[in-house]
Every structure is written in structure tokens, then in C-alpha cells.
Symmetry: C2
Subunit: 228 residues, 2 copies
């Protein structure tokens, strides 16, 4: 299971750290401000007061062992120096950093940060799209009658093809994808970390033990499947 | 077509305003800072320098005529006073406000703001979910071979049922929804502003002129349909 570090505990960093910890992952949270450390200490694996530029300190708390580091500090200079240290010196495989604007983001990309987050820009674009025309996925989430759910394939489906099970006729639901665990063929966290996703599976697709079915349909119909 | 106002042009407000304007909507952008107004003036319908608490000024620029107002100011007191003015005095139908934290958000809800946005919290949750396991929709967006597209139904499909067209066999794609314009039965902007969405349509669903097909499939297959 992945081991995460979050450096910088403003709203963004705090919520990333606590969300991951809630889902059962090991999280080390770092901030220069002792109050932030006190607030979060019972919610994460380790909360440590440190300056993000204290390279010796970061090494001592075992930061090179993390799989993913998230830099949630606005200050451009600090985030650039820290990103470079985490990628180049500590060789952390996957580094995510929050950027205040495109200029900041471009520099982070150049020094090899794996993923840049622009919280305000992303929320702004989602809101604008949503005000113009609610997206299908928002509809599915907002719809009081429909749901999009993921469930582990019930035993009675294992070994059968989608066609044989005939989800639409029997349950009136649409399987829009199957998530399947397979040894990962790439090192990337971006798409298929230990998991491949079969989008829009063919009716001839045979279900394997452990498959996760991603389904859309009316709530009462989905509940029937969940009871199998 | 909807008429929007955005008050407060930090990153969040600036991007909401420019995104809406790019899509062809009328946008009035307001900020107390003249530099922000200069930066945005050629990108929106009207950019006006005003204090958000200047009720007389807001009335004079015609703010009561907007359909949707977006308050993108962090300061809690200002955003609360402004929200109350826009809902109670100007009777603006749909007001969206950015909130810095849950406490701020709760007060805005109490005074009737229609939708609260928490940019940092939302981006943090999306990132956390995405780091744990890329969601199907991120996969579809990130996948280099698959796409999720929406297209206006080609003439040759109008009047036919999905079954008759047989998308899967002929094109190997999955229609996960149909967006259809119908007179709106509710006043809400939240779900179906002039548009109903048929999720996971039945094979017997007949396509009407103007239907928007929401489809998932391999890029080259989707391109075939787009050429019809
Ligand atoms: N050099 C540093 N070392 C460690 N922590 C730092 C350093 N500089 C800033 N921080 C911490 O980073 C956190 C985030 O601060 P920042 O100024 O980036 O933005 P913010 O506006 O609080 O963030 P958000 O938008 O996520 O709410 C703060 O808790 C701060 O104490
Ligand atoms: N009373 C006011 N009237 C009009 N504009 C205001 C008022 N107070 C602040 N603003 C404007 O609101 C904008 C947003 O400022 P704010 O302090 O909320 O946050 P920000 O950190 O710049 O926002 P973001 O997180 O979106 O980048 C600024 O451009 C500022 O000039």
C-alpha cells in the first residue's frame, strides 16, 4: 500500500492528508507551523514540525521512503526548491505540487514534478462548465434516482460473459467499465497502478474473480445487484 | 442565454469569468482593484471597478438583471453581506459563493446562497481519490485511446431506436446517455436547465432531432460517428 507525505497544511494540504489517512493510508504530514501540526496530529500517521527547506530534517524523518509526496505550499521559491530536492536528491517516484498560476506551474514541470494542481483554476473551470450545462457525471451524482456505483463482482457472475448475464434485460443497468487487477506493466501512477480498466466492455467479456463492476442505473436496480 | 456576474477577480473569479465568456456568455466582471479590471476588460462583456459593498453602484450597473451571480471574494464579512444583498434585495435567482472553510460555508447556506464552492477542499478530495485509484472518468479523460464525447445526433439516426442503429456492433461504442431539450419542468439550475438527461438509455429509446449523444469508446471509432 502506498506511503504518502504532505508538506504544507493550508486547506489544500490538510484535506489531502486527512482524506488519504481516512482511507487507511500511511501519511506523514509536515508544516513549519506548530499549530497546524497539533491540529492534525491525531488524524495522520505522523505529524512533524519542520521547515520544508530543512533537507537534513526531511531526510531524518524518512521522507525518501514515501511513494508519493504532495507539496502544498504557495510560495513559489519554496515549492521549487523543495520539488527539486524531492525528485533529484531523495528520488521520490511521484511528486505532486500545488501551483498558484501557470508561470509557477511551468517551472515545476521543467524540474520534473509529476503532476501540477491548480485548485482555484480547476474549481473555476468545473463551476463554469457546470453552470452552462450540468455534465453527465454531475447528473449521475446529483440525480436523486440514478447512481454510479462500483461493486465487486458477485460470485454467481464469475466465469460468465456480460452477454450471458445480460445486465440490461435482467437488472436494467449499464456496465460502463470493469476494473481488473493485473500486474502493472508500467511504473506510472497516472493510469493503471496495479489495475487495468476495461472501458465499455464487450458483451463477450468474461468476468474474473475480483473484478470491480462500474455500473450506472436506477438506485433500486443497483441495490438488487449489491444484494447478490 | 444566461447572463452572469462575477464579483471578485482573484484566480478563481478570473477563471470563472473568462471561461464563461469564452463559451459565448454575457459576463459582467466586478472588482475593487483597477488592475484586475484592466487585465480582464477585453475578455468579458463588461468589467467594472466597484466595491462589492457599494449597493447603489451594483444596482446602477444592472446587476439585478443577471441570472447567475458568482461571489469570488474570500473575506467572510464581505461575502456574507454581498450574498444577502444579491438574494434578498436584488432577488437574483441563482447565487454561487466561494467559501474559505466549512464555518463560512454554513453561514452562506443559511442566508440562502444556492451553491457553495470550496476550491481547495474539492481539489484536495479529487487528488486524494485520484492518487488512491484513478476514477473511471479520469481514466476516460486520461486514456490515450479512449474518449468520452458528446455529439449532436447525425440525421441518419433520427427516428431510429438505439437497437435499430446497433451502436455497439456497428461502431463498437457505448451510448451512456442522451441529452434532450425539453421545456424545463422545474426552475432549478441544478439539474436540468432546459435539458433532460436520459441516463443509460434503453435500446428501445428512439432518437429525436437535436438529441445529444454522450458516448464512450476508442477514439478512432468515435471519429467515424463524428463524420456521419
Ligand atoms: N518553508 C515552509 N516549511 C514548512 N511549511 C511551510 C513553509 N512555508 C509555508 N508553510 C506552510 O504551508 C501551509 C500553506 O500555506 P500557504 O501560504 O501555501 O497557503 P494557504 O493559503 O494557507 O493554502 P491553502 O490555499 O491550501 O489554504 C501553511 O500551513 C504554512 O505554515
Ligand atoms: N470589497 C470588495 N469589493 C470588490 N472586490 C473585492 C473586495 N474585496 C476583495 N475584492 C477582490 O476580490 C479578489 C479576490 O480576492 P481574495 O482576497 O478573495 O482572494 P484571492 O486569494 O486573490 O483569491 P483566489 O483564491 O481566487 O486567487 C481580489 O481581486 C480583490 O481585489
Amino acid at each position: 500500500k502506498k506511503f504518502f507525505a504532505v508538506i504544507g497544511l493550508g486547506s489544500f494540504g490538510y484535506y489531502v492528508a486527512t482524506k488519504l489517512a481516512e482511507k487507511g493510508y500511511e501519511v506523514i504530514a509536515i508544516d513549519i507551523d506548530e499549530n497546524k501540526i497539533d491540529d492534525i496530529s491525531n488524524k495522520v500517521t505522523h505529524a512533524i514540525q519542520l521547515n520544508a527547506l530543512d533537507e537534513k530534517g526531511l531526510k531524518e524523518v524518512g521522507l525518501m521512503d514515501v511513494d508519493v509526496a504532495i507539496i502544498a505550499i504557495k510560495d513559489i521559491a519554496t515549492s521549487i526548491l523543495l520539488s527539486s530536492f524531492l525528485k533529484e536528491d531523495l528520488k521520490i517516484k511521484y511528486v505532486v505540487a500545488k501551483a498558484s498560476d501557470q508561470k509557477h506551474g511551468k517551472v515545476l514541470e521543467k524540474i520534473g514534478v509529476d503532476r501540477i494542481i491548480y485548485p482555484e483554476i480547476e474549481s473555476a473551470e468545473r463551476l463554469a462548465k457546470n453552470l452552462i450545462s450540468p455534465s453527465i457525471f454531475d447528473i449521475i451524482e446529483l440525480s436523486s434516482s440514478h447512481n454510479l456505483v462500483e461493486i465487486k463482482a458477485p460470485d454467481i457472475f464469475v466465469g460468465k460473459t456480460l452477454e450471458e448475464i445480460d445486465f440490461r434485460k435482467r437488472f436494467d443497468i449499464n456496465i460502463i467499465a470493469i476494473k481488473r487487477n493485473q500486474p502493472s506493466t508500467t511504473e506510472t501512477y497516472k493510469l493503471s497502478y496495479e489495475e487495468s480498466i476495461i472501458i465499455s466492455p464487450s458483451p463477450k467479456e468474461r468476468i474474473i474473480e475480483g473484478d470491480i463492476l462500474v455500473m450506472v442505473g436506477l438506485k433500486e436496480h443497483l441495490e438488487k445487484i449489491e444484494k447478490l
